[in-house]
Amino acid sequence: MAKKVQKTMPFEEPLIQLRKKIGELREYTENAEVDLSAEISSLESRLEKLETDIYEDMKPWDRVQVARHPNRPTTLDYIPLLFEDFIELHGDRLYGDDEAIVGGIAMFNGQPVTVIGHQRGKDTKENVRRNFGMPHPEGYRKSLRLMKQAEKFNRPIICLIDTKGAYPGKAAEERGQSEAIARNLVEMAGLEVPVISIVIGEGGSGGALALGVGNHILMLENSTFSVISPEGAASILWKDAALAQTAAEAMKITAPDLLEMGIIERIIPEIRGGAHHDPVKQAEFLSSAISQSLDELNPMSGESLIDQRYDKFKGIGVFTE
């Protein structure tokens, strides 16, 4: 993969400063007749420590930024790295083909699977085509069609979740955005094949959950899953979207939070600093997580898969009797 210019995030600022300083010293030693190798090496070990401090202790807001990073690998980045023989299948057979969701059939370790994922763009042109990864009803109906097809041929279903949410638009409402999402939730509950839902970026509200009624829900370490965006929460709670950072902490939207609440089965580790630093290596982590889930779910009968999904979701909630 060609080396891209990486967009830096505010929490990485101290690292950028330090790296710049080291670079300047190096350049200086090359031109001047002074030996600064001791200083450089001391700064380098400081850099290493700082990297550990920053990347091993990422705050919720840091993770939100990583999850939204423009170079973060998307569904279509992962598919060729995870699967063989992928064939994309289009359309809901009712209205159109929503390119904010891609789906198709592929081979995973010798087993045919159906893969479905939200797809956002990486630049303006692609984002217009993909509607920023925010689906219309036809996207969800295409997903359901492909899930039913998977069930017919007894293929496991792998869903990759990566959306800010379902699209809030006039046409989406006219064509039944609510019904399309609701239908997916109910029909996914009854699927007789394994369903693995993996949050790879942002998991925004009902539009994310519509691919999320899985036997297993997994989250990448720096992904988020929430009922509302931190900005939205902040503007409702404190009438100030600028307090998104505070809201990101208060709303408990990170993978460790969801693991603790018993909503997800596992966290998939990320490359230090975020998946965008090494998508190929990141895909290996994803691949072994999918293998592990399939090993657990493949032996289960259709009925026990439905029962497992029932018990999983029935158990989510906090209240007293």
């Binding site: 955005q177 906090v318 009797e321």
Partner: protein, 290 residues
């Protein structure tokens, strides 16, 4: 979710007539009430007899869950369940517990939905009735759990399940746990449906966000009350996104009907009879086939 504030701001003026608005100060509290739509003053007793439908303009005012039970079920037949469940404060939001307690005090409900079993014209049903006077009808863990248990009861007793929805969506103060209630209620409804049992969803004003995008929209039959606001995203959010003027009737029951999203819009005065007939038409073994 952002929709909640939106809706309730827009509809603050046409609220429950028993809550006196500013202009209604001169109206004796309790004895009289004012239609929030046409401002006609009506005796409260008279309004109750009319099931809170304005005699002049036909506006369907908001009902409490208990008022709905009275207007729907055979007298004395309704027995509520799960009134003992209590919301926690899983994210530790300041003031959340107090707000829930205050609304509980105000409405006499433990949460934003009343569930139980009763009869309609002698036919047994399990019902869930949401109440928008309780935290705007928003769905947190207890609302999700109560609806799920009600559906499970209907499945176990092989009864139809009826829900009256009235909700601004998921409850923000319970975070992603609220979102997951959409999935929880759905797995229960799937099991109910697989038993060949009837599910009727009646969408009342307002039904939006996560409630609209889950159980409210997947009845075998979806009915709405006239003029009810029903939608996924908030009008203001959509206007900001698409930058175009939305039609006046956007996201009303009539708009949804015209766009193929509802089976029928039914006047409140005909609701009981309509439901009774629908249940009768789904009675098993009335005529054996095959």
């Amino acid at each position: 979710m952002t929709i909640i504030r939106d809706i309730f701001k827009r509809n603050r003026e046409r609220n429950d007539p028993t809550i006196p608005s500013k202009e209604a100060k001169d109206v004796p509290e309790g004895l009289m009430c004012k239609c929030p739509e046409c401002k006609t003053i009506v005796l409260t007793k008279e309004m109750a007899k009319l099931q809170k439908v304005c005699p002049k303009c036909d506006h369907h005012c908001k009902m409490t869950a208990h008022e709905r039970v009275d207007s729907l079920m055979d007298e004395g037949s309704f027995e509520s369940i799960d009134d003992h469940l209590k919301s926690s404060n899983p994210l530790g939001f300041p003031g959340y517990t107090e707000k829930v307690e205050a609304d509980s005090e105000k409405t006499g409900l433990n949460e934003a939905v009343l569930t139980g079993k009763g009869t309609i014209n002698g036919q047994a049903v399990v019902a869930a009735i949401m109440d928008s006077h309780f935290r705007m009808g928003s769905m947190g863990s207890v609302v999700g759990e109560k609806i799920t248990r009600a559906v499970e009861k209907a499945t176990a007793e092989k009864l139809p399940f009826i829900i009256f929805t009235a909700s601004g969506g998921a409850r923000m103060q319970e975070g992603v746990l609220s979102l997951m209630q959409m999935a929880k209620t759905s797995v229960a409804l799937k099991r109910h449906s697989n038993e060949g049992l009837l599910f009727i969803s009646i969408l009342t004003h307002p039904t939006t966000g996560g409630v609209s995008a889950s159980f409210a929209s997947v009845g075998d039959i979806n009915i709405a009350e006239p003029k009810a606001l029903i939608g996924f995203a908030g009008r203001r959010v959509i206007e900001q996104t698409v930058r175009e003027k939305l039609p006046e009737d956007f996201q009303t029951a009539e708009f949804l009907l015209a766009h193929g999203q509802l089976d029928a819009v039914v006047h409140r005065h005909k609701m009981r009879d309509t439901l009774s007939t629908l249940i009768k038409l789904h009675t098993k073994g009335a005529v054996a086939r095959g």
